[in-house]
């Protein structure tokens, strides 16, 4: 089962560090501010209208900068994803997104107020004049409306009332918003109109951000999908509401992926090709097929049980940091909650380990929720590893107390603090276990987890 593992390629690892990325972002931020000052940003502070306009410019510049950062965050650039993780990127994207839209709104308000004061006009008249007499300004106005729409649709209350696909569809308008805002910035914007250097610099930023999106969201997955010709070769029931989809393809022994990672797949069927599904691989890569295991979370996962054999698959990835690459210690503890078993099942198979080095704790509410039981028992016997099944709803007779507190875990795994820990499960469970382990003295650098709700 694992004999040919060493021959399989693993994804390239980038030696970039978070602090280097942050340094580049801050440096560019300072550069933007410096250019604004060089262009006379501060000279405008002579009168009240100048204050509004100066601040409006500054806020607009940083709003535009954050919009570009947003593109980079969502570009699925491997160097970024491998350093930060898709879950943290998504969290950052959300945060940066709201700040970005607030800055853009601030830019519009401040600039309009400033011009209105200078012209002695009321705000509405001034806004109308700006929109209709300045080149690219109407486009910028539409851009503003789109930005606000995207932000509003992403507020938690709205998200709850919107289908994922509606929200995602609305989110695509952010690309349009950025494109429509480009003209007013580079042509009308006073920081650019008179300075070829600033113009080139900003055009360069746009090209880089757009280039990363095109390269890693479109070209790379297309190349990978065409090269490997992924197809559904088998679909199996694993338990109530849980199915495994087996993907075959060409030269799969050349497809670089590791246990613990996930891919985003699109099944190329008439009714659903537009939908991307992030699925973890649940078996170590073997060069012949990939197994994706998914739980029916309502929605449309269930219709996958009826996926036709031979359905073509468009695949993006692999992504994910929950791999053996981050392991430093010899002894490993895997903690799975519910369907979180999928990536850990693959790690349980792939991670090199001597007898006694590998322990899996698998938590589920009901006995029927346990999947891969035969496989796990078999792997444990073959590898000299240990599996603990912790079954029962919390508070029930079978499970009166939380079995995943640090103290309870130490009962099961006495050398807990000397282990590398991989966690996967519902976010609240992961957070609780992580906090418990940290409090019990396990260094944070040895606790690995990735949220899958993004």
């Amino acid at each position: 089962m694992t004999s040919n593992r060493r021959a399989l390629p693993v994804p390239r690892r980038w030696s970039i560090r978070t602090r280097e990325i942050v340094a580049v972002l801050i440096l560019n931020g300072l550069l933007i501010g410096a250019m604004w000052i060089r262009h006379g940003g501060l000279d405008q502070l002579a009168d009240p209208s100048g204050w509004f306009i100066a601040l409006g410019e500054l806020v607009g510049l940083y709003g535009g900068y954050l919009a570009l950062i947003q593109l980079v965050l969502m570009s699925r650039s491997p160097w970024l994803e491998q350093v930060v993780g898709m879950d943290s990127l998504a969290a950052a994207h959300r945060w940066v997104g709201f700040v970005c839209v607030w800055l853009i709104v601030g830019h519009v308000l401040l600039t309009t107020i400033g011009f209105a004061i200078a012209d002695g006009q009321n705000l509405v008249v001034e806004a109308w004049t700006l929109l209709t007499t300045y080149e690219f300004m109407l486009m910028a106005g539409v851009s503003l409306v789109l930005f606000i729409g995207v932000a509003v649709s992403s507020v938690r209350v709205a998200r709850r009332h919107l289908a994922y696909e509606t929200w995602h569809g609305l989110h695509l308008y952010a690309y349009l918003a950025i494109a429509l805002g480009l003209g007013h910035q580079l042509v009308t914007g006073s920081d650019f109109a008179h300075d070829p250097l600033a113009w080139d610099y900003w055009a360069g930023l746009y090209v880089i951000a757009a280039g990363l999106i095109v390269a890693f969201r479109f070209v790379e997955p297309l190349v990978v999908s065409v090269r490997h010709q992924f197809r559904v070769v088998n679909v199996e029931d694993e338990g109530p509401g849980v199915i495994s989809i087996y993907l075959g393809g060409r030269d799969l022994d050349q497809f670089a992926i590791r246990a613990g990672q996930f891919v985003i797949v699109r099944f190329l069927v008439r009714d659903g090709w537009w939908r991307g599904h992030p699925f973890s691989i649940s078996a170590a890569p073997n060069g012949r097929w990939l197994r994706l295991t998914v739980k029916d979370l309502g929605g449309d996962t269930m219709s996958m049980a009826s996926l036709a054999i031979d359905t073509r698959v468009y695949l993006e990835g692999p992504y994910g940091l929950l791999t053996g690459a981050r392991r430093v210690r010899r002894r490993v503890l895997l903690i799975a909650g519910g369907i979180g078993i999928a990536p850990l099942r693959a790690l349980f198979e792939e991670l090199p380990a001597g007898p006694g080095d590998l322990t899996l704790v698998y938590r589920a509410s009901r006995p029927t929720d346990i999947v891969f039981r035969d496989e796990l028992d078999h792997l444990a016997r073959a590898r000299g590893a240990v599996v603990h099944y912790l079954i029962g709803a919390r508070g029930s007779r079978a499970m009166p107390a939380d079995p995943l507190t640090a103290a309870a875990l130490r009962q099961l795994v006495p050398d807990l603090r000397q282990r590398e820990v991989y966690l996967c499960g519902p976010t609240p469970m992961m957070e609780a276990v992580r906090d418990g382990l940290r409090a019990s003295g396990l260094p944070p650098g040895h606790i690995h987890f990735e949220r899958f709700e993004f």
Binding site: D119, E135, L176, H194
Partner: protein, 176 residues
């Protein structure tokens, strides 16, 4: 693809085509982006400024100003000393600047440049403020130099250049 997505896509494309076909007056008209023409700066000739000697030559007292023609921006002619004799107002060319048109009028009294009046200038945007701030400075510089050979006001390079260019053509008219 769901019907709603197709509807949204088509609507978006139509809206986009409409939006891109919108032309600002700046694109279609010749007079630049600023819709209103406002004259800024001192309206009448103020008393004599610095003395740089009597200026000789040229007819053209009471000349009617030549109709302004727009000169391609960025070609500032070499400044020459004012050599016109007599008095009158001379309107310079309208010079296209980044955000609009700048045009000035030179007032000559006894062969001396005594005032520069702004006929038109961008009124809005940062350029508008720069122009409004820069105009009095540029005027006093021109009167001091008795020519269009004036230093750029810092932060208003483009305005200054266009101003100088328009003033130069006004002085050329005065010279005949």
């Amino acid at each position: 693809m769901p019907k709603r997505a197709i509807t949204a896509l088509i609507t978006t494309v139509i809206a986009l085509v409409l939006l891109l076909s919108f032309k600002t007056p700046a694109d279609s008209g010749a007079a630049g982006g600023a819709p209103a023409l406002v004259s800024i700066g001192p309206g009448s000739s103020i008393g004599p400024a610095s003395s740089s000697g009597p200026l000789a030559g040229g007819p053209g007292a009471g000349d009617s100003p030549t109709p302004p023609g727009t000169r391609p921006p960025g070609t500032t002619p070499a400044p020459t000393k004012v050599t016109a004799k007599g008095s009158g107002t001379f309107t310079g060319d309208a010079v296209q600047e980044q955000f609009g048109v700048i045009q000035v009028q030179a007032t000559m009294t006894g062969g001396k440049l005594t005032a520069v009046t702004v006929v038109q200038m961008p009124t809005r945007g940062r350029s508008g403020f720069i122009s409004a701030d820069a105009a009095p400075i540029l005027e006093s510089e021109a009167i001091a130099a008795q020519s269009a050979s004036i230093d750029s006001v810092s932060g208003a390079t483009y305005t200054s250049e266009a101003y100088a260019q328009s003033l130069q053509s006004a002085l050329d008219h005065a010279k005949g």
